[in-house]
């Protein structure tokens, strides 16, 4: 069993629980961008986008590079690995149960056919 760090899971899941923040990540996954360029397609203030970027930064999903007067943001997917592993563990857990149920039903059917 993987050792999950609660604070990493808390921050990553909270960060991706917002549609604007997911859209920002999707854009940055294509290419790095300045805060201004990130904000452009969104009908909200630059300040609101700046706050979303800070949440993503604290979750470790964005790295900000300051070049002169520009803040350039880059997508850092590493923390997604732990969050993804947690979700997969519980998703798969269920698949295993369904498999067991299927085997149980098939075995029952077999016994019925044999009997």
């Amino acid at each position: 069993m993987v050792e999950y760090r609660p604070e990493v899971l808390d921050r990553v899941f909270a960060a991706v629980a917002d549609p604007t923040r997911r859209a920002i990540l999707a854009a940055l996954a294509e290419k790095p961008a300045t805060i201004g360029a990130i904000a452009e397609p969104f009908p909200v203030s630059l300040n609101a986008i700046s706050k979303h970027v800070m949440v993503l930064e604290r979750a470790g999903l964005i790295r900000r590079e300051i070049v002169g007067r520009e803040h350039r943001c880059r997508f850092k997917p590493a923390p997604l690995r732990e969050a993804s592993a947690w979700l997969e563990h519980y998703r798969r857990f269920w698949d295993v149960r369904l498999d067991a149920l299927e085997r149980h039903i098939l075995a029952k059917k077999q016994r019925k056919n044999d009997g």
Copy 2:
């Protein structure tokens, strides 16, 4: 590309962004339980646990069955599939980039050896 439903991702990610809610899901993944039994190991009020259960219920991760005076809760992992697919898409996206980078470096090395 999978079609992600923003409201499902919002609710599931927000639901699992809390350590108590993740612990509740982990317990219910083992076996269904009443709200009272769920609350027992936690040093918080039954009311607080009840609120956490409601958040999980709204995210579709728990189904509540009312049998007489008992509220029995059951883990429903189906919504995790969509959330997991979203995370995996961005996690893998990065692996693809790393592979491309590795190929680029190897090709460069090869050209150097050939030259």
